[in-house]
Symmetry: C2
Subunit: 187 residues, 2 copies
Amino acid sequence: MSATPAPARRARRYDPGRRDRLVDTTLDVVAEQGVAAATHRAIARAADVPLGSLTYHFGSLTDLLAAAFTRHVDTVAARFDERMRAAPDRAAALESLVEHLTGDLLGSQRDLVLAVELYVAAARNPALRAVTQDWMSRSRRSLERHLDPVTAREVDALVEGLVLHSALSTGPMTADQIRSALHRLAG
Amino acid sequence: MSATPAPARRARRYDPGRRDRLVDTTLDVVAEQGVAAATHRAIARAADVPLGSLTYHFGSLTDLLAAAFTRHVDTVAARFDERMRAAPDRAAALESLVEHLTGDLLGSQRDLVLAVELYVAAARNPALRAVTQDWMSRSRRSLERHLDPVTAREVDALVEGLVLHSALSTGPMTADQIRSALHRLAG
DNA sequence: AGCTCATAAGAACGAGCGTACACAGCGGTT
DNA sequence: AACCGCTGTGTACGCTCGTTCTTATGAGCT
């Protein structure tokens, strides 16, 4: 019998996609429990792989975190730039931004939490700082498709405030409030 | 020989202000090395007290952090409310806000860092969440001395974004840029 | 004076951490 | 078939952590 191992655990010798899965699992753990709780052991448990597997695929925990955040930033930044690229004019871009905020970012507690966790981890960890700065500059460049650089910067700052606010506050702002603030700032 | 121990350390039996000093030292350590590095041992070393002294004065590390952040928030919030209270009208209030941002907050890397560290620590620690929410509501109440509630909320979000931005970005915004954004938002 | 007890001190404990390393399994090359 | 070498595994080491606990000390009360 048995090509299929019944216990379903520890049956995974030769696992080509493991490296990728580890990156995804790391993001899950960070989103659910924070960077401080994202230890080798916690991630290994969540991914159902042995402890040694982590240092095998990633030289250090920082390497793993950097890979994970890089993937997350790539995803979010690409999605946002796609929105900005698709917007025909400034007004549409602002509306897309509102959608991005209320739908993609503020709508999903996961992305929100990941953003804040990244911000703070980067504040102390030089290897991660490059990732946040890349995110900031990409998002500003996306905004500049339809806004002048000065306004783009202001909008970017407001957006970050909104993200932080929504991540921590019990009563986040509504789409209408966000729309009105953006229009006053950039409308 | 020697009633006086030469090393000059450990000579502090009976130290009435120690509890207070511990709170201040904790803020220093957090500002310099982050919440993650603010361990009992690091704080004890910085305050030049024995390790056991910390759990004697504060039941747990969380208690100590909460006391420290509460003190910091009280200081900053009181200073800000004083500014808003002193402003004769809306325009003066906005200018005071610019000063508060460029001078008190963004000007001192210390306050900036403390703010962000608090934000993030609060995201995972319920005991600290009360402190941030108190800060947010106090700062909004101060703004509402001269702004309507909706605008106050928007300005508050922008300010938080500016704080985060300045804490992490290499090129923070100038006073002029901040003034212009505020006036467009609340002008 | 003597007593009492809050304060101070430092060693110790158990848990969890990142990382290193020696060994096991298996595809690919001879 | 025999081997090699990369991939994967599991254990162990050294360290730091929060917290506990025993013992010392001296200020303030009677």
